[in-house]
Symmetry: C2
Amino acid sequence: MPERALIEAIAAELQSAASAHGRVVRGIGDDAAVVRARPLSVTSVDAMIDGVHFRLRDGWVSAADVGRRALAGALSDLAAMGVHAGEAYLVLGLPDGFATQDALELVRGASALAAASGTVIAGGDVVAAPALTVSVTAVGWAESEQEIVAREGAQPADAVGVTGRLGGAAAALAVLEGRAAEPQTGRAALLMRVRAPVPRLREGAALATAGVHAMIDTSDGLATDAAHVGRASGVRLEIELAQLPLEDGVAEVAAQLELEPWRLAAGPGDDYELCFTVAPAQRERVEAALAAAGGEGVTWIGEVAAGAPGASMRAPDGSEPELAGFEHSW
Amino acid sequence: MPERALIEAIAAELQSAASAHGRVVRGIGDDAAVVRARPLSVTSVDAMIDGVHFRLRDGWVSAADVGRRALAGALSDLAAMGVHAGEAYLVLGLPDGFATQDALELVRGASALAAASGTVIAGGDVVAAPALTVSVTAVGWAESEQEIVAREGAQPADAVGVTGRLGGAAAALAVLEGRAAEPQTGRAALLMRVRAPVPRLREGAALATAGVHAMIDTSDGLATDAAHVGRASGVRLEIELAQLPLEDGVAEVAAQLELEPWRLAAGPGDDYELCFTVAPAQRERVEAALAAAGGEGVTWIGEVAAGAPGASMRAPDGSEPELAGFEHSW
């Protein structure tokens, strides 16, 4: 299918959702999209590439999953700032021979998550690329700086909390790569962690309203991300690995891999939960806010100390294992 | 260099420029960037990939040129909407073995164009990729819809104008690919069309203020882009190919290729000039506005008729040659 026809087919997929939102003044079809702003824009960019961030050919994910996953990654960054999602812009890099039906499925996957999260896909581009590449720009909005939670506000004595459950993406990857058999329990939820991760937008906004001091998403792995918060805030997050909330099936996969389950929960990333710190007196308020947001609640996993900026991950035996997630190097 | 160190080195390159702009509340270093908005955001996304949009290995461009070019492409879309540039966000996809020094040069190239055009690079991401990939999101701002020029406002009897000069990018490409010898005149300006294209932001804003009806940039080639305006507006742009303003050296390269020079000026794209339509009575106002904006002025290349939506490109012999630019197909 020629480029222009493909862009028109994609635009047709997205048009009705965009035109239903009064805030999009001009959507797909001009040189740029025009959107009604609020006082502060909050913008995140993210890219996912076949063979690097997922493996389409091995059947780990479908084209629709790729669209969902790429959008989820960018929206998760907005969740970590505590803001609601506004618009998203998609750049698709498609290799020669890529089926246009798959390109449309990818867009439908992203579009379904957009609809579920109140995001409007307001623009994009399609280019030729050596491997399937999805670049997403996600934009959220806030009325004032007070609504926004950064990485840098953690204070000594804060409690450290995390939403939902961890380790699911790493365990699912082990299953998809054939390193572990499917677990007896929780198989479906586990695979959804890779195929259709859910950005915690409602939870992030609820946590911001509840007054958390600092927040980050766990996309790079809890150990890495907690250290980001500690360094940005000039404090040390002390986390008890035994307290990490495990996704169903993670313990079973970890046993097959002969790993302690917290290694899957704290090391590798892609879980898209939120890790935050809050004054200890506000813990009940946070619990009530997350309950009202309808998520899986909060687990308290540690506290903030005035030590060397970063994070300590304490194992049940008192050791502090190295748990940094994978880091690419050039 | 590990990912985090590279991101920190890139952030250091960009930090001072970003912090000098009061409108960036939070720049690089958090999950998302926070920027003070104006009432309407105008957003364009664009991607350029080694081997598709440029050839780094063949020495056509330097790493700095790639950064400049990618940013120029996205900013040119904002110019075509008639708005000033605000922020840009860069996603770099770097292949294994890509020199970190080249990655920093790429960022410096983009940063130099950002400084020259009043754009702040406020965020980004770095990922592994099979080929050098630069995805750019450019955001401009407007106070009201009246400031913005779309593709769809062209009216019968309008004059069609174009800024600057055309054909330079196509001629430069022929030289870089070895299909033509370097021209005697205009060699430097010609190569700059590929290496350091200049988005016409001042001209676009001046044209919007002067009341042009419709506008587009010529990135896909004048013939293709004029047809976009015609279709969006439900009118026909009738363009006289003999009237196209030629970049120095284009006629000489065209002669070597045994092509009429207007084929290089109207067919292939990447010239990043602006094509617009305006009521004929406003032509002098447009000329004065462009003179005040300090650019190369305007050339009147045709007029708008009420025919079949699209564009006609009329050759000096009265024929209407097929001049569509390259279109990828999947």
